[in-house]
């Protein structure tokens, strides 16, 4: 496959995707970069002026900024932890012989098909609502005060909702990984005297390492951009308790119509995302060869 002809063909074939994405990245990013140095409020289009680093400074000194970074991390890590651990557990369970396996799988996979705003609406109104939600009904049934989820545990609530949406994805990938585990290896370990727990720790987990990295990579990409669930449920509050970086930018762009500030925030987010990406890609790249 290594002839000059194929190599040049390959370049040609790669080109459209690369060029498209390059444009897709550079044009808006370039414009964003430009805007980030402007005093530009959409509601005041007449008074656009050069701002220098002011937007960055302003965004950075926003008291919400560090909260947002912390919340972003907590959200990403929380969801990852739940989906990976839960995904492994569920994958192990549904890999076992069970009656009605097909239906069980269909049920488990379903949340993945629900669009994020709808998922948030469902959880907010029907499940976690402090007076009409199912959780409240359950609480009342067992005689405790219903929890006002979005007020008392805003970030946790969002993590639960997002984790619910991504659990199927993690489960599916981990399940395929699990099913590719070599049966003979397991038998060898059994012969070697390893019990079920040892086999899980010493064989199953390491075998799934790659799948886990993939889950982490893909989900991180999507989780960094979560905002719809926040918008629908807590609007980032109370206070900044559930404001993540994306939502902070959202707030600047859509509530304040502060294009300059949002652009600066966007650039900061891109830089942070790329730092995350860098380490992630290192880890994953190694794991994908």
């Amino acid at each position: 496959m290594a002839t000059r002809q194929t190599a040049s063909l390959a370049r040609l074939m790669r080109a459209p995707a690369i060029i498209l994405l390059l444009i897709w990245m550079i044009v808006p990013l370039g414009m964003t970069l430009y805007y980030s140095f402007l005093n530009y409020n959409l509601l005041n289009p007449a008074s656009v002026s050069w701002a220098g680093w002011f937007n960055y400074q302003y965004f950075y000194t926003d008291p919400a900024f560090f909260d947002a970074i912390w919340n972003t991390l907590a959200l990403v890590l929380g969801v990852l932890a739940i989906t990976v651990i839960g995904g492994i557990a569920i994958a192990l369970l549904i890999d076992k012989p069970i009656f009605g396996q097909g239906i069980v799988r269909i049920l488990i996979i379903s949340p993945f098909f629900v669009m994020p705003p709808v998922a948030a609406l469902i959880w907010k109104n029907m499940i976690m609502h402090p007076s009409y939600g199912v959780f409240a009904d359950i609480a009342r049934a067992i005689g405790v005060q219903p929890v006002d989820w979005f007020a008392q545990y805003p970030l946790t609530s969002i993590i639960i909702i997002v984790a619910w949406q991504w659990l199927p994805f993690a489960t599916l990938i981990l399940l395929t990984a699990l099913q590719s585990l070599d049966g003979e290896q397991m038998e060898a370990a059994e012969m070697d005297g390893a019990g079920a727990v040892s086999r899980f720790i010493h064989l199953t987990l390491p075998h799934m390492a790659r799948a886990i990295t993939v889950v982490v990579l893909i989900q991180t990409i999507f989780l960094l951009g979560i905002y719809a669930e926040i918008l629908v449920t807590t609007n980032g509050g109370p206070g900044n308790a559930s404001t993540n970086l994306t939502y902070l930018i959202y707030r600047a762009a859509r509530l304040n119509f502060d294009i300059g500030g949002a652009a600066a925030g966007g650039i900061i987010a891109v830089i942070l995302a790329n730092i995350v990406a860098f380490f992630l890609m290192r880890a994953v790249g190694k794991n994908l060869d």
Partner: protein, 334 residues
Amino acid sequence: MGRITLEAVTKRFGDVEVIPPLNLDINDGEFVVFVGPSGCGKSTLLRLIAGLEDTSGGRILIDGKDATDTPPAKRGLAMVFQSYALYPHMSVRKNIAFPMRMAGVPQDEQDRRITAAAKALNLTDYLDRKPGQLSGGQRQRVAIGRAIVREPAAFLFDEPLSNLDAALRVGMRLEISELHNRLKTTMIYVTHDQVEAMTMADKIVVLRAGNIEQVGSPMELYRAPRNLFVAGFIGSPKMNLIDGAAAAEYGAHTIGIRPEHIAVSPDHGKWRGRVGVSEHLGSDTFFYVEDTGLADTITVRAGGNIDLHHGDTVWLTPDDAQMHRFDATGARVA
């Protein structure tokens, strides 16, 4: 220390009886090879002994104790798998140490045994590599190393060499034989390669569809196959089997004569034929002789220096003393 007895062991998968009641005695220190065509139940039988499958009936005794319901880890047997079944994320050292770690063997004892096994198997330089960085033969040795350190009552091998290429296979075959000579531990070895069976076994068990066709030393099987199946299965190239008039002449339904027991001559002999493909191996030449009227082709082994070409007419003379005779049911006629 490694006596294994199967008493009327049977195995069914669903409705299919893969192993009909089967009795077998394996003595301590013996090298027993199970051979047979694909799907005949060799692996199943081995896995029954290992405890990786439940028996559907009968008893398995290890050193006289009933082990039918003992879990695999407790039977004191070690198994080497066809796919090596190494733990890919552990180094060679960790792989070999794994069964000892599970058994709680103290660290220094572990180290001692690993060093010894690595030395015996020529793995000392690779102890810190991962299995992925090893060649097929080396991987197989690691798998054996992992078995050795457990100091098991018996080793079970399921086609351990079938993933290796021809040259390596010869080497590993020798290594396993040497290992057996040194350890004198019972070994049960599954293969469908009859060369392996012949060269390694103290005792060969020929299986067909879960039934034992013949049990005996390799030479017993070679010299006196009990039926057509064993005759055709043991020996390489295959024994020539001839029906019809030529067989009737010997008072049999079928006669069998091995390629090495036929003399070739360009001008005289008993049967006439035409040379088809011939294979010159240097030391030997195999002729596939066609149009003899006896069978499709008759395989003949001759010395390295015979000069016959495709299409030449040849004469073949079987060595009557080495002739095998079978009746219509396929059973050997004394």
